[in-house]
Amino acid sequence: MRELIAGKHSKAAVETAKELHKRHPTPSSEALLMDAYQARIRSLLEHGMSIEARSLLNLVIQRFPSVRTRWEQLVLEVRMLEGNLDEIVAPFADPNLDPFVREKIETVIRQRVFDLTALAQASSLSPGHRLREAARALTGALKAVTSQPADEADLFLPEVSRRGPLGSWKALINAIAAFYRRDDTSCRRWLQAVTSDSVPARLVPVMQVMLGSEGGASLSSAAAQNLVAAIGAGEEALRQALADLEAALAAQKKPPILESVRAAISACERFRPDLRDRLRQYISVRCMVVGFRPNQVRRVLGGTPRTDARWYQLMATALESSGYSESLAHSLIAWETFRAVALEEKWFAAKSLEDGVLLLHMAGLAARVPADLAEELLLLTDPEDSISQAELTPGQLFSPDVLYERACTADPHSEAFQVWLDWAKKQRDWRAADQVAERWQQACEKDVAPLLWLMESCEKRGAYQKSLKYLHQAEQLDRLNPEVRKAKLRLLLADVLRHFRQRKPHLAKSGIERIESLLEPAGSLAAFTSALHRVCAALEKDHDAVRRHRAEAEGHLGNPVAAYVLDRGIVDAAILAPEEALLTPLDLSSYTGGTLLKGLAKACLLGDSVGIPAAIPENWKDRLRACCMDLTIALDTAEMLVLGEAAIRSRTPELAFAVSVRGLARGGADARFLFLRARSLPPGVSERRSDCLSAALELAHREGNKDLAGKLLEELRGRPRNMFERDDFAPGPEGYSMETGFLNEVLADERAQKQYTMLARHVPASGGTAGIPANHPRPNHIFDEHEEFPEEEEEDLADFEDFLANMPPELRRELTSAIARGASPEAILKRILSGRSRELESLLKILPPELAREIKKAIADGATAEQVLNEIEAAVSDRDSGRTAGQRQMRNKGKTGAERPQQGSLF
């Protein structure tokens, strides 16, 4: 019988109990029958059959009157379901109400009464009854807190006792008020005060969902979903789900990521279906960034995210921001696909200004993709096939020239042409830059920049007349343009120097006169023309004129050392022997340190301004270094910087270092002096140099010094960490950002270094690594690729560099790639020099190119010649014996170097 009741088979239980009681009537059988009836009545109540429940209840009470008192609560529940609140609360009118009955009524009110208005209007309650007053106050308060920001007075509710049957309502109303004023902590506290079996407790899980609480129940009921949607609070739950996903992505643990993605998508579908597509796109991109393959992403998202132009834009941007060569190449492909899709979606028109902007950006990317990687990618596909739906073929896509050309055709403007020209200038064929400049000139007829380049290019090739023609055109466009004036001075000066070289002083004189017409008649520039006249006179062996012009120059410069350095600069530029130019060495002992340093700085400044950079005489270096360390000699920042540059130019790193010591101690131009310090360091301390450059770049960015930042970036990219070639993994400017703590550490360390030394700066305790973006989402092991070689290996580097220089270019490239990926030069050296490497080398020459390429890659990735040859022998033996080679892994699985990130191919 008990089992029937527990199993909710109340009808069968009643029938059986009746039968039992009929046959063997005992108190126990009666009690069992009553339990069966009670279960049956409750079952009817649960099914909303109040009339049937009431009839059965009346029947049982009639036949067994003794149960009436015991079944008081059941009676009340039946009444409650009938909506007969008056009857339920009627006993409260009796001042001598049995406490047991009171408690039962209060329990029913707590657990069943949701209509407070009805309770407040119950006719059986006396007008001032506490329950009526409490219900009325709660009705008003609920209306107030759900309709507008609540007043404190609305929440006080002195009419409602916390321990009374409506106490949980008071807590609920306070929770709702706290929810609306966004005091979520307080809201959660109030929700905890709601009794779990009370009517208000039905709202607790719903509110927890709205608060975005972890473990919030799902909203199964339509009413709950409607409430959340009407309030618009589902966003909170979605935000929480997204925060969970963010944390899982940061931890890079696959199972939590998958779980969080599912939760976030589900929350989004429930609360913000309008954001579903967009969110799926973001999540798919983020998952791919942390290394999920596209099919895994599709699986977890429950389908492919919408691959529209926006998705390709996101993907391209994400790939590009990593800064790695392979990602850059993929990013380029993504941008091209974006372009094709965006054209289809009519974001912009083909060959429009917008198209030009995008193509220009893509050209910049293509220029950053290393040539060998582009070749590798091109090998994987037919260069004539278009990429996906894109217009460009892979061959065109990886050609910066094609992209720049298209960009400038779509949007011909100076800035675009300048970028293209800058790229073309770095190409081996000088004609590339000239052709760009010519295109520029045709497209933007009023721009002088292309003419100046063409002038310079002709000048370099010795086509002086043609150069003058371009200068003339530039002058016609903008005679007063400082760049044009500067170019003219440079050209005229080149002509004068050419005549000096040809020992034709009479022809040089007319050039000097033309230069004089360009320059101010007094000051430093006048000293310059005096110096030119002096050389002219020297070539004519006119000693008086030589003395006179030297005196003039000294007068203009106010410093004999400056005049000498200037003379020497001109003589060097004209490739004349000092004796021929009647230039006798300066007796340094005759001059004070101040005169020496200031004179040199002045001459260097003047030389820089006219395009004849002065060099520091070899035998001056020690004296200059000593003078530099003498703090009694006052030097301003400009003088120090120009001296430092001259020292770098003259290959005097010790002097440059001394200048940087002084400059860093002085402060105020730390970026520039760190730049100087970096370049003064010996080749064996590349990590320290890299730290200095990165720190200088960070400071330059902070100072907004774009010019210096550009130079630093060039230096950072041009001085690869693997020391052998340009850095294939060069990140963008943001890739070199440095945290303030590490920046200060580098600055403090460099300030403390007063002696020129070959030793590397110690690795900071913080373990910071220059070049690693502070908050970059990529895993750290990816950045480990750039770690510097351990100090003990540095001794081998010189030998290794020599070794590399003498090996076939293709193999050299592979080896340097391996080093860049983290392989040890020492280990590679050992492997290459191992007994069978020569044998392998001979074999490589006769193997099919594809196989040879595979083998070279395997070696670069860590396989030894021995292993490779064994593999080949085994493969040949397998083939001869008719067996399948199976999955023979030629690559060394146990390599210790960091591996390249596995970028799932998307295309």
Partner: protein
């Protein structure tokens, strides 16, 4: 990549729609300059100036449009800059939930 440090929506800062052309943007910029002179509202002035720099011509606008989206930004950036609302809906929808067992 041409990243910008501008926080917020430059169109919103200038009070123009996304479809606004050069002239409208310039007019809005001048209006905002009058509203936020640099000597009295330096922070607002700076924001207005930076917003104008990003939108001042078609080329700049497209550059900003192409590169301003950060796919690696926190995922809740899909909601945009507007914080979520909690609408007052009256007692009925709340009571509907309470009626359910």
């Amino acid at each position: 990549m041409e990243k910008t440090n501008f926080l917020g929506d430059p169109w919103e800062v200038l009070g123009v729609t996304r479809e606004a052309g050069d002239e409208q943007i310039r007019a809005a910029y001048l209006r905002k300059l009058k509203q936020f002179p640099p000597d009295r509202n330096p922070a607002e002035f700076e924001q207005v100036r930076d917003a104008y720099e990003l939108l001042r011509d078609r080329r700049q606008r497209f550059r900003y449009f192409l590169f301003a989206t950060d796919p690696l930004a926190p995922l809740d950036s899909v909601f945009g800059s507007v914080s979520s609302q909690r609408n007052f809906v009256g007692p009925e929808p709340w009571l509907e939930v309470l009626k359910e067992k």
